[in-house]
Amino acid sequence: MYRLPRFSRRARWAVPAGALAATGAVMAGALISTAQASPALPARTAAQLLAAVAGRTGPPPAFTGTVVETASLGLPDLPGTSDPTSITSLLTGSHTIRIWYANPSHVRLAVPGTMSESDMIVNGRTAWYWQSTTNSVTRYLLPARPSRAEQTPGASPGSVAMTPQQAATQALAAVGPTTRVSVQSNVMVAGEPAYQLVLAPKSASSLVGQVRIAIDAARDVPLRVQVYARGAANPAFQVGFTSVSFVQPAAANFAFTPPSGAKVKTVTLGRSGGSGDVPAMTPSADGAPTVIGNGWLAVAVLPSSALSVVPGGSGSASSAGRAASSAAQAASGSSPGGGGAVGGEDAAIFGALMQSAAHVHGAWGSGRLLRTSLLSVLITSVGHVLVGAVAPSVLYADAAQANRVPVTHAK
């Protein structure tokens, strides 16, 4: 009778164990290499990096890429944030956007969902917004002059003509009083070697620990922005490329024909009107926020009624607003003036947020305070909403100031 050696039967288990170990090793290796790989690049100072970014002229190079936005602000679990196309969904979790960018007037953004997709396509003077879940298309006719919003904030018209060194000096001078600017070890972002520029607020009252900007070494374009809360090891908010290739995307990406059977709506965007239909968070004129303080300690002060215009959508505002205000009243409980009206399903989100808000009071009055790792929100009993990436004490001081200044004060 053949007798099987014991070892060889055991040895067979080495195969699955090896497969498991190899899988684990590859996964860990991938994670570590993306986290710690530090490509060797010619040394550049913070000033040079600032100069390179601020001194860029013209639009960024054409690219195709995938951007992932991750927010872990420490908010409570919010209802209704599973819809990836909703603005509020950006407050929690992780979101993917695929981008095709040829030039400022040929851009396509696709937000993939499970068995769904939303697309924003800018093609010349026409922009299309497609939602597969509702099978609807919105066609925007853009004003003649393309918007200059693509330019980096630092590249004001005057700075374009300057030398990079001057631009750097100017940029450093602008941020210098409030911010420590430094460089950190180089990183790989989406397979591209990148410098890391670190901006850290000097004020201890800011909740922001540091902002890390990864800048592509070859093209001087930001690849990733990470915002760290004070003392946190992981970013509270980050948005960056997970894959990018700097090649001209195919023209087919920008050609859009509304599919047959889809609902098509046309919106003409002038210089002033029509902005109410843009899916954006722009508050309308009467809700324009007042800003108290500057730099890292800037706090936006809104009348609590301004919350109702945040969720966009002009059509159902009145009915949804009524339903929401009752929900908000219920949520805000004992602070009578503190409940803002929030449109539609966002009432539920607002309610969930308010439940985690604490009652606070002081010389400035009383209200409810919502604290997250990165943002503090104070809703006072007199109807101010103060939002800032600052410690609550700053909000209290600003609340006292806001009480003296009428809320309707324009920016």
Binding site: R12, A19, D119, S132, F256, A262
Partner: protein, 339 residues
């Protein structure tokens, strides 16, 4: 420490195997065919040991490829002639018909749709091709995995439960080859089930609804032929997902003599994985869950196709097949078979 000694019971084994064949499959002599694989059937020679490969067993054996094929054909015949499996396929095939008829009888097609309900539901009324996507999406959540679980969980445990496994091992085919053939039959069953869903949905969709160019999730419209090609790719992707699930099922099946236990365990794994996949707090482990990439076939319905996601999914399936396939192999080739 004694190894399996199926050869000692060679003649009664052949009888039992033939009997099993008769139970499973009245018309065919599948088990007899297995038993008829050439080679001496004496006690000493048929004593099987995991270390001896049949190819080296002697000049009387056919080339390995032929014997592989013969074993596979025999196994496929068993799987696809079994009444229970045919009933499972019938269930899988009937569901798209029911969905199609229900949608046809329901409210008239509204342009646009509400955006509520399962994905693709609104598109079916405008284009019958979407019935295939709808049926695959719906069945992929539970019905299809359960069907595959039944077949996969039954592979080894079922034979052990019937008491036929040791007689099956009397066939000079080698355990590795037997396991491979069993697994391939599961893969084939998953592919047939997925293809059946797609085919029945398409036939049903064409006969009940208008058919035309297909609007992808990105809002791009492609020709009908392109759309059908994408249906085919989606079907293959789903079959790949089922192949990964089948590997887990076969692995579990090698650990028990009770097929129902393996089936239930696999069903629980599917449900638990789907539940975990829907809890955002477990986001870190989501990409590693066996079911996470199943519905990533939507990547095929975008323009351009999201190959990154698709390859991630296929990679995940492949890793599951390798890991659980090797577990099944290590277990099956080293365990004592007593039933």
């Amino acid at each position: 420490m004694s190894t399996a000694e199926p050869g000692a019971a060679s003649d009664p084994g052949a009888a039992a195997a033939a009997e099993r064949g008769a139970v499973r499959d009245p018309g065919a002599a599948a088990a007899a065919e297995r038993g008829a694989a050439p080679g001496p059937r004496g006690g000493a020679t048929t004593t099987w040991s995991p270390l001896r490969s049949p190819a080296a067993a002697g000049p009387g054996y056919p080339p390995a490829a032929v014997s592989w094929l013969r074993l596979l054909t025999s196994e496929l015949r068993l799987v696809f002639r079994r009444r229970r499996n045919l009933a499972l396929l019938a269930v899988v095939a009937v569901i798209p018909v029911i969905i199609g008829i229900a949608l046809r009888l329901a409210a008239p097609p509204t342009s646009g749709g509400s955006g509520q309900g399962p994905p693709f539901l609104d598109q079916v009324a405008g284009n019958g091709v979407f019935l295939a996507f709808l049926a695959l999406t719906i069945q992929l959540t539970l019905v299809l995995p359960l069907v595959v679980a039944v077949v996969a969980g039954d592979t080894i445990a079922g034979e052990a439960g019937y008491g036929t496994l040791r007689y099956l091992l009397a066939v000079p085919a080698g355990r590795t080859r037997l396991l491979g053939v069993k697994y391939l039959s599961v893969v084939a069953f998953g592919l047939v089930a997925a293809a059946l869903i797609a085919a029945v949905s398409l036939i049903c969709g064409v006969s009940l609804f208008p058919v035309g160019p297909v609007t992808l999730l990105s809002g791009t419209t492609v020709s009908l032929a392109q759309g059908l090609l994408r249906v085919a790719f989606v079907t293959l992707y789903v079959a790949g997902a089922m192949a990964a699930l089948g590997a887990i099922g076969v692995a579990i099946s090698t650990f028990t003599e009770h097929a129902i236990g393996a089936i239930a365990a696999l069903a629980i794994i599917v449900v638990a994985s789907q539940v975990a996949d829907s809890v955002p707090q477990f986001g870190v482990v989501h990409p590693y869950l066996p079911t996470h990439w199943w519905d990533s076939f939507d990547s095929l319905l975008r323009a351009p196709i999201d190959t990154t996601t698709l390859l991630h999914g296929l990679l995940s399936f492949g890793v599951y097949v390798v890991i659980f396939g090797s577990i099944a192999w290590a277990r099956f080739t080293s365990s004592d078979v007593t039933s």
